[in-house]
Symmetry: D2
Subunit: 191 residues, 4 copies
């Protein structure tokens, strides 16, 4: 009955907040959780999941060497929660699929679908393809429409179209946008 | 393009947290919000929306005398957010439908569907019937299944089946349950 | 694991087609279904579910005297499918909730939310309030927006705002509309 | 306001039926549609979309040389419907994103997420990553759970794990399965 969930959104929708709320919901009922976030993401200290609302807590880290089936089997929680899930590898997603369906532990992953070029992250591809349940967390573009894209601005506030996929540090350089604004079909100053 | 949203769940799913996160998302983009909660609910002080994660902020209050179309037209925000929306009247919901579709202000309501007897709240009936977008916020029963029902326990931990619909104070007396546990088709100690 | 589903939409979205497709899906896998429709609806002959695509098949009829728990327990299918579910009584919905969660038979109900006055049907109120899974089937207004309302036109093509809730016969008199067109906030000739 | 939709499911959920129903819904309101299916799929004749319920109609064909923006701009319908959308190329999906957001024509794509090995189709990767609206069409595994995977059986009814991604002809060789059955974590005879 356990499932693999992928809750995706554009940037700054509140994914970490929801993750921390779900952890709280489980623990309030006396049930256990394990929290992971990407080792690659060191914005808030190496082992912390932090919400823009000011709530944060410690998490385990995953990187390419993590093997989830064994790790979870050893110390199985009532729910496994994973932040920054776009940084999972395809192999990780296969493992998490097995954690849900063989070990019976629900797995809820939170992450982005695409980078600033509109290209999917490898982990997101497999989450979108295999998850038993896809759920969008909505956020808004400056124009009022739903944001689905993640734009990256350069130092002059101009939208970048090439460069390194990973630039976690500069959160201030990212803008969640609707496709019309992202592709420039509408004219709104997003800088 | 504005819509009337109803995000419903069983108790203690984190509705107020999400509401506060959405308010934050709008304001971070320089867009304005107005927040309302039910005057009837004085758990946290008469004009506060508080999350179980420890975040809270002031809100306007609605009661039976509130008329939303005029109130919102006078000072229209980019988004109207309503907590404890099960306490809206049917007339309120008609007004909010008009706020979205005539004034063009998106309205996001957060609330319960049913009371401890499994009976719908009057406001929830009209939100479920008219909202352009229904979205469930999931939470769990002690047995691990999704909770959709709200049970109320008496002083001895026994489930109540009759009594006053409104007993906001005793949050500790409520349990979110799946239908199997709520109806007693399974045997789990929920006290 | 069985659930009570309510798949709602405005009129003429294709609810009966989907119901017949789901029945086909089960039977193709060698699994059994039972189909019910409202005795009140005699558009296509008293015991028929008919799709506007030209597909139809026989169904059992429900009326106020139907008691679903006993009926289904006697001859339990792999899935119970109910068309015109807005004509269920609140008591029927309680029974179907029990069929799903005590007998373990999935129940999928297809129906409208509101009548031509924007008032909820009694059965729909309880389906919206208790169903484990609400799913909208989308259809469109003449203006291109999503239709959520059901308007009824009089002989001159003018929208009616009062009258009998039940006028099943004259399907040609109904129009699925978005709220803007339904309330006359936009001006489109829908006759 | 137009969007790019991806309605995905495992095989034999009824995708073509729904597509034909949506086409009917538009045309019944006097609105136009254009239907495309993959040239690669010649099960039912080269230019036909056929439902397992027995309904079918002619469609235009897409292949690698199709350029959707120009094609649609020339003769824009009220809605563009695409069957077998897993056979779109990534470039096609970018074009369809533009058709929705620059030309303002809603695009509804129907297709699979993964092949018999659990690997995503290239077109599906981009649909899952860019679509404004993801909607699952549910179907069932023989065990009663929701099917999300597509297994392929060899002549002896044994599940294949390698081979050519494209074997459209032998529909009888495919089984929609839940992950537990697909991976063999449960033991059910699916042949």
């Amino acid at each position: 009955m356990a499932k693999l969930y992928f809750r995706y959104s554009a940037m700054n929708a509140g994914k970490s907040t929801i993750l921390l709320q779900v952890a709280h919901n489980y623990e309030e009922r006396g049930m256990s959780v394990r929290l992971f976030t990407a080792a690659i993401d060191d914005r808030f200290g190496v082992d912390t999941i932090a919400s823009r609302l000011g709530v944060s807590r410690q998490a385990e880290l995953f990187d390419e060497t993590t093997e989830f089936v064994g790790t979870i089997a050893e110390n199985a929680p009532h729910c496994l929660l994973i932040d920054e899930a776009q940084f999972l590898t395809p192999a990780h997603v296969r493992q998490l699929h097995e954690v849900a369906h063989r070990l019976g532990v629900p797995v809820i992953c939170y992450g982005l679908r695409t980078d600033f070029r509109g290209e999917p992250f490898p982990g997101s591809i497999y989450l979108l393809s295999l998850a038993d349940d896809l759920e969008e967390m909505k956020t808004i573009c400056l124009c009022g429409r739903k944001a689905t894209m993640n734009a990256r601005l350069d130092a002059n506030g101009k939208q970048e179209t090439s460069g390194n996929q990973l630039e976690i540090g500069g959160n201030a350089r990212y803008r969640s946008m609707c496709p019309k604004c992202y592709y420039g079909f509408t004219k709104i100053d997003q800088s």
